[in-house]
Each structure stands twice: as structure tokens, then as C-alpha cells.
């Protein structure tokens, strides 16, 4: 039976006047802050994940770039090495001017009374611009060597460490020829 006996006692007076109305906002604020905390936590978590992904991507790209840089540097070293070799060859080639004109002008400078007993032109392997010349002229006057040197000078060469030895019938001359352009 759903029966409840009446009660006529006095209502209990509130012990206190109750909290201010503004305090009703406390639970609302609590739930708002809780929801905001959850949302911010989720946002920061997703941001952290995105940052980690981006960082990993950047690291991959950095390592890839470093790998490419190493490869390029290796190629550059190879090229530089080849270039140095080429420069040496170019210098050698530039220094190794043709000796044929020298022999020709020497031959043309010899007058009738003189003959070329010996002529050698030896290029210094290390310094191709330096050519060691040995000339032995038989007969002729003392000015024969001078004529030949003038012809050589006309080609743009200079002589260094020149030595001349005059014998009874021949004159030995040796010097290092260096082109003026050097």
C-alpha cells in the first residue's frame, strides 16, 4: 500500500542564509574549465604530434640533403683534383712552347763560314718553360754566336746562365732559354 503518514512539525529553518547567487556559477565554471582543459589538452597533443611529424620530416630532409651534399662534395673534390691536374697539364703545355722555330732561326743565322757542329735543346721536365740549349759552332767569326742569339731573342726568348767557351775552331755556347711571356 502506497501510504505515507502526514507530518505537521515545523519546517526546519536554514542554518545559514545560503551562498550568494553568484556562487551558482562555480559549478558552471568548473565544467567550462574542465571542458576547456580537455580541449586544450587535445589541441596540444595534436600539435605535439604534428610537430613531431614535421620534425621527423625535417630530419629526413636534412639527412637527405647532407647525403646529397656529401655526394656533391665528393664530386667537387674529384673535379677539383681533375682541375688541378688539368692546370698542371695546361701550364706544362703553355710552357712547352714549340722549339722548332728556335732551331729554324738558329739554322738561318749560321753564315757560310760556320757550321753547326752540335745543337741540343733539352726541356726541363719539371719546368717546361726552361729549355737548356747547347750550341757548338765550328768555324766562323766570333760574332756568329751573337747572330744566333739575336735571332733567338727575336723570338722573344731570353738567356740565363749563359756560358760561352771559344776554342780554336769552334765555339761552345750553353744557356737556359726562357720565353719573355713568363
Amino acid at each position: 500500500m502506497n501510504y505515507l503518514i502526514h507530518d505537521i512539525k515545523s519546517e526546519r529553518q536554514n542554518v545559514s542564509g545560503g551562498l550568494p547567487v553568484g556562487y551558482k556559477l562555480i559549478p558552471i565554471l568548473f565544467y567550462l574549465v574542465s571542458a576547456s582543459s580537455i580541449a586544450l589538452s587535445a589541441y596540444f597533443y595534436l600539435s605535439k604530434k604534428a610537430y613531431e611529424t614535421a620534425e621527423s620530416d625535417y630530419q629526413n630532409r636534412t639527412s637527405q640533403a647532407q647525403s646529397e651534399e656529401g655526394s656533391l662534395q665528393a664530386k667537387q673534390k674529384t673535379i677539383v683534383a681533375e682541375s688541378k691536374k688539368a692546370e698542371v697539364v695546361a701550364k706544362w703545355l703553355e710552357g712547352s712552347r714549340p722549339l722548332q722555330p728556335v732551331t729554324v732561326v738558329i739554322g738561318r743565322s749560321i753564315n757560310k763560314e760556320s757550321t753547326i757542329a752540335e745543337l741540343s735543346l733539352e726541356r726541363n721536365p719539371d719546368i717546361p718553360a726552361h729549355t737548356f740549349m747547347q750550341l757548338k759552332v765550328d768555324g766562323g767569326s766570333a760574332g756568329q754566336i751573337e747572330n744566333s742569339l739575336d735571332s733567338i731573342y727575336a723570338l722573344g726568348y731570353e738567356t740565363y746562365s749563359a756560358q760561352q767557351v771559344k776554342g780554336e775552331k769552334s765555339t761552345d755556347f750553353q744557356a737556359t732559354l726562357i720565353h719573355k711571356s713568363k
Binding site: M1, L4, I5, D7, I8, K9, S10
Partner: protein, 294 residues
């Protein structure tokens, strides 16, 4: 004044004191889980009478009863320590048996929460019938617009509450025992398909207070109530009962409910109904049981 005795005795119709931690809505199931408690009585401050009380155990059963002569305000100071020792925190239920009236009203508001409304703003329920010096309780007829309205003196309730407050006792529930008994019996009748259609005269008696309700075809047709009837005042009782007997038909059945078996009414006034069909529905510790279960 004689010293109250705690030996087993039949509780006299009056009041019940009962420990409870529930204040507004009273649920017997909640109380049955409490420690053994107590009960006592109060009642008439007009006529010196016995103030009984009963101890209710955790199962909601009456374990012991006792009583003391005198007014409640005199008995309570003597018994306060004993009552507190047998209750939890001094919670005690009280039944008032004097200075109240029960009437019949129609078309009272039954909107949701009317019980709370009756406590806080009884005028909105009772309208012009409201008297600020009274406290009210209502028992609605579930199938008609009729309602039993109980009104008791506000000053008496306050007096009891002040007395208890001064003794560090706490009123768990203060009710009108006779109105509770009548409400309980009317509810039982309304739920009994064989009974609710019959022509009935329902009589409740408790400690010098008498209430009569005529029910016919499920409708409450007449209600008469009087409290504070002095012992031996046969004239008053006869005047109250006579209209019901005169209007009774051969099929009319009389239901009598008292607070205990072989109460003072069935002992002294049963012959008022002559040869009519009278059924006494009173059970042992009837008042205590109703107050402890509902």
C-alpha cells in the same frame, strides 16, 4: 505523578514517539534500519491522561511499551535521558491526540507537489478555509473529489517542539494518530475491491478522540470528528454516532479501528450500534504498527 514504568504494558491510545533521521518525508523503511528506539506519547494538555510510548527495534517491530501519567511537558523532562539513551541522537516520532478536527471537503487542489505546498503555503490549497492558527493534513479520496482535512492547533505543535528542543530531543515526525489510522484504513478499503463498493460506517477511536466516516459506493458522504472527549461522556458519543445509525441501511457495515485490541471504545460503547453488523479491524499495537510502518 507516578514514576514511569518501562515494563511491558499495553500502549494507551495516544501518541507515538519514534526516532528517525528523516524530517520532511517520513519513510518507515528508513527507520527500520536504525537502532532500536523509542516512543512516547503526548496528548492532551486539557485532560491529564497517560502518555504512552513504545520502543521500536531495527526491524520496525514494537519491543517494549511504557506510559506515564501527566502532561507531556511534565513527563518529557523526566524521561528525556531514557529516551535519548534508547534512540540515535534523540529522534522521536510523536502522535498528537487532542485539539484537532477532521472535516470533509471537496475539489481541493491535487496538483503535483500538493503535500509540500500544504506545508509551505496551505492557503494556496485550502483557500478561504485556511486559518493561520492551524496546521493541516489532507487525505484524498482516490476516486472522487472528496478529501478529509485535518486541522490542529499550531500552538500545541509549537509547544511540543519547544519542549523537545529544550530537552535536546528531535521530533522526527509529528502527526495526528487518529487521522493516520483513518487514512490507513480508508486506503485499505479503497484497495479492497470487495469492500470499497459497500455501504460502510468507518469509526476510529484514539485516546478520547472519535472520528466517523460514512462511505457509500466508494464516496465519502459524511464525516464527524471530535477530540478531547472525557471518559464517561456517553452523551457526546451518542450524539455523534446517532446520525450514522439512523441513516444506516440493513446492509450497512460498521468498521471500528482503535489503537489497540479491547480498547476503551469497544469495551464501553459497542452497544451503541445495537444489532448492526460491526467489524473490529483493530490489531495488536495497531497505532504503533501503523506509525512504524508508514
Amino acid at each position: 505523578m507516578k514514576r514511569p514504568s518501562l515494563i511491558n504494558k499495553q500502549p494507551s491510545p495516544a501518541d507515538i514517539l519514534w526516532n528517525s533521521k528523516t524530517l520532511k518525508t517520513f519513510s518507515p523503511l528508513q527507520h527500520s534500519a536504525l537502532s532500536p528506539i523509542i516512543l512516547g506519547s503526548t496528548g492532551a494538555s486539557v485532560f491529564p491522561n497517560a502518555n504512552p510510548w513504545a520502543y521500536i527495534n531495527r526491524k520496525g517491530l514494537v519491543e517494549n511499551t511504557a506510559e506515564s501519567d501527566g502532561e507531556f511537558v511534565e513527563v518529557a523532562p523526566q524521561m528525556a535521558d531514557v529516551w535519548k539513551a534508547n534512540t540515535e541522537d534523540g529522534w522521536i516520532g510523536i502522535s498528537l491526540n487532542q485539539r484537532f478536527i477532521i472535516g470533509l471537503e471537496h475539489n481541493l487542489s491535487r496538483k503535483k507537489g500538493w503535500e509540500e505546498e500544504l506545508r509551505l503555503s496551505p492557503k494556496s490549497i485550502l483557500g478561504t478555509k485556511y486559518d493561520r492558527s492551524k496546521r493541516y493534513a489532507i487525505q484524498h479520496n482516490a476516486e472522487t473529489s472528496a478529501s478529509l482535512v485535518m486541522a490542529c492547533d499550531d500552538s500545541m505543535v509549537k509547544s511540543i517542539e519547544e519542549t523537545m528542543r529544550g530537552l535536546n530531543l528531535r521530533p522526527a515526525r509529528i502527526c495526528i494518530g487518529l487521522f493516520a489510522m483513518m487514512g490507513h484504513l480508508l486506503n485499505r478499503i479503497s484497495e479492497d475491491t470487495a469492500m470499497k463498493g459497500q455501504d460502510l460506517v468507518i469509526l476510529g477511536w484514539l485516546d478520547g478522540s472519535l472520528c466517523l466516516v460514512r462511505q457509500k459506493g466508494g464516496q465519502w458522504q459524511d464525516v464527524r470528528c471530535r477530540s478531547g472527549i472525557t471518559p464517561g461522556d456517553d452523551v457526546t458519543i451518542t450524539q455523534m454516532i446517532r446520525p450514522f445509525i439512523e441513516r444506516a441501511e440493513p446492509s450497512t457495515r460498521i468498521l471500528i479501528m482503535e489503537d489497540k485490541k479491547q480498547g476503551s471504545f469497544s469495551t464501553n460503547y459497542l452497544d451503541q450500534f445495537q444489532n448492526m453488523h460491526v467489524t473490529d479491524v483493530t490489531e495488536e499495537f495497531h497505532l504503533w504498527n501503523i506509525l512504524s510502518k508508514y
